[in-house]
């Protein structure tokens, strides 16, 4: 059959039929899922994507903050030299010099910085106020030591040596704080990953129900497609593409909502919290955040389409 052999078609072919055909050939989905339920479903998946975005962002923020905290703590060691009654020979200044000499010669030490009395007083100002410190008050001497975290010095040996030099000398390598922060941060990260996983699982379950409802509602169409020679994969693709598009749309809406939420949080922190003393993770957007957020629609589309495909193939596999 060709256009040239049929008179009626030949007449109309040049008279706009070509244009008409182009309209006809626009791709159209053969099997709609559930027209009336599509919008609420989009809303639910968007909310799920939003939760997933916030959970994932939390993991990124926590990891970033922990990196900052632990990087500072693990490379810093503080030596404190307290005046001890009766320990006056040699003098505190001489004991300080001996400690500095010992620390400077240790392998793995990058920098040694003794704090001046003024600098130490400044550290106490938040508790005692400025200028309230009596000159006679014995203030511990402090030494900030920066160590090479890749090749750290032998802390146990240093602590032993300090004890020999002065009974008032102590070593604080912050490992206690470091460990606690890591435990807490890992717990928070695990919680966020758990929420993210549950959100993905909930989305998949919702999609399974929606797909099953769509299959039930379109049972006649599915049967017809089978009877005129459609493979299961063709029918599955019909559903899959719709859920893929829905996942992309929901993910895109969720990104917008998540970015707005993070910006709002950032604004509130800047407005109402003293930035200088603020030490919690700041919800500012980094490049890695943008990458993660852009992955949300792709992930949602992937979860929705794969779940749909699996569900459709499983259900229609029982039909002849």
């Amino acid at each position: 059959m060709t256009a040239s052999t049929h008179p009626s078609l030949s007449k109309t072919w040049d008279g706009g039929l070509r244009r008409h055909l182009q309209t006809l050939l626009k791709p159209r989905r053969i099997v709609p899922t559930n027209d009336s339920g599509a919008r609420p479903l989009l809303g639910v998946i968007t909310i799920m994507c939003f939760f997933a975005a916030l959970a994932g962002e939390s993991v990124l923020l926590i990891n970033r903050a922990v990196d900052e905290w632990t990087a500072g703590l693990s490379s810093a060691v503080t030596i404190q030299l307290r005046p001890v009654a009766g320990n006056t020979d040699p003098s505190l200044d001489q004991q300080m010099e001996q400690i500095l000499t010992r620390v400077r010669t240790m392998p793995g030490v990058i920098q040694v910085r003794p704090l001046t009395r003024r600098a130490t007083e400044k550290l106490l100002e938040p508790w005692l106020g400025a200028g309230n410190l009596l000159d006679e008050l014995p203030i511990p001497r402090m030494i900030d030591v920066t160590i090479d975290t890749a090749h750290p010095p032998d802390m146990a040996a240093l602590a032993r040596d300090l004890g020999k030099i002065s009974p008032g000398a102590t070593l604080n390598d912050h490992s206690k704080w470091n460990d606690q922060i890591l435990i807490f941060a890992n717990f928070l990260s695990g919680l966020a990953v758990g929420i993210l996983t549950l959100t993905i699982a909930a989305t998949a379950i919702i999609v399974i129900f929606a797909t099953r409802a769509g299959l039930t509602a379109r049972h006649d169409t599915v049967e017809l497609l089978h009877l005129i020679g459609a493979h299961d994969s063709f029918i599955a693709r019909e559903f899959e593409i719709q859920f893929l598009m829905m996942g992309l749309r929901a993910g895109a809406l969720a990104i917008i909502a998540a970015v707005m939420t993070l910006l709002l949080l950032q604004f509130l922190i800047l407005q109402f919290i003293n930035v200088e003393t603020y030490f919690l993770p700041a919800p500012d957007l980094h490049f890695s955040d943008l990458i993660f957020l852009l992955a949300i629609p792709l992930g949602a589309a992937l979860v929705a389409s794969l779940t749909t495909r699996f569900t459709v193939l499983r259900v229609i596999g029982r039909i002849l």
Partner: protein, 216 residues
């Protein structure tokens, strides 16, 4: 256990044959057609088609056999959200044909069945007769080796009915086997083809009413 609708049904269709399937309502015409277009498998017995044992054929291989069978369903089974053009093109789309390869054929076929002006119309806006013509066009568009039609002229006026039957006859001349289930005695007499008559679930083969076979 479900009651048996068909029993003692045994027949062979030669390639390129033309048969009417007759019988009173409830005799099992639609059930027999359903077995032939593989909507279900028989509870017992066997069916072979195009050299394949349909009773034991793996499910994954059914689509390839089904593509060689065109079916005009009694209830048309058109997809309401698709246009006339899209409904007719559906078997070709499923078979993986490209739009540029089939679009002209589909338009020509629809023009031939008198629906050239309704290419973009959707089934709900078509009359019963028009829907039936769309269903017939869909059944023949892929040039099947076997055409099964369940009351294909039930809703159209006699003139259009004759034209549609001519379409079946033309397809038969091209080599397709045709089985038309019908109540229409006038049609059976006019076309004069052998009859497969179902009576109480059993099949009786009869020659054409005129004693001659005008189509095969």
């Amino acid at each position: 256990m479900d009651a048996e609708i068909l029993r003692d049904v045994s027949f062979h269709l030669e390639p390129g044959s033309f048969h009417f399937l007759t019988g009173s309502s409830g005799a099992g015409k639609t059930s027999l057609l359903r077995l032939m277009y593989m909507a279900q498998r028989p509870s017992r017995g066997w069916i072979t088609m195009f050299g394949h044992d349909l009773v034991h054929l793996p499910r994954a291989q059914l689509p390839e056999i089904r593509r060689r069978v065109g079916v005009v369903f009694q209830d048309f089974r058109l997809i309401n959200r698709l246009t006339t053009f899209e409904n007719v093109a559906l078997p070709l789309v499923i078979a993986g044909a490209k739009p540029e390869d089939y679009s002209e054929d589909v338009v020509e076929l629809l023009t031939w069945v008198g629906l050239g002006a309704r290419l973009e119309a959707k089934p709900p806006s078509l009359s019963g007769g028009e829907q039936q013509r769309v269903a017939i066009a869909r059944a023949v568009v892929a040039k099947p080796d076997l055409l099964l039609a369940d009351e294909p002229t039930g809703n159209v006026d006699p003139k259009i009915g004759q034209r549609l039957i001519r379409l079946f006859v033309e397809l038969n001349k091209l080599g397709a086997s045709v089985v038309i289930a019908t109540h229409d005695d006038h049609l059976v007499r006019e076309i004069s083809a052998p009859i497969l008559s179902l009576e109480n679930g059993t099949l009786i083969k009869r020659p054409s009413p005129t004693g001659e076979n005008r189509v095969a």
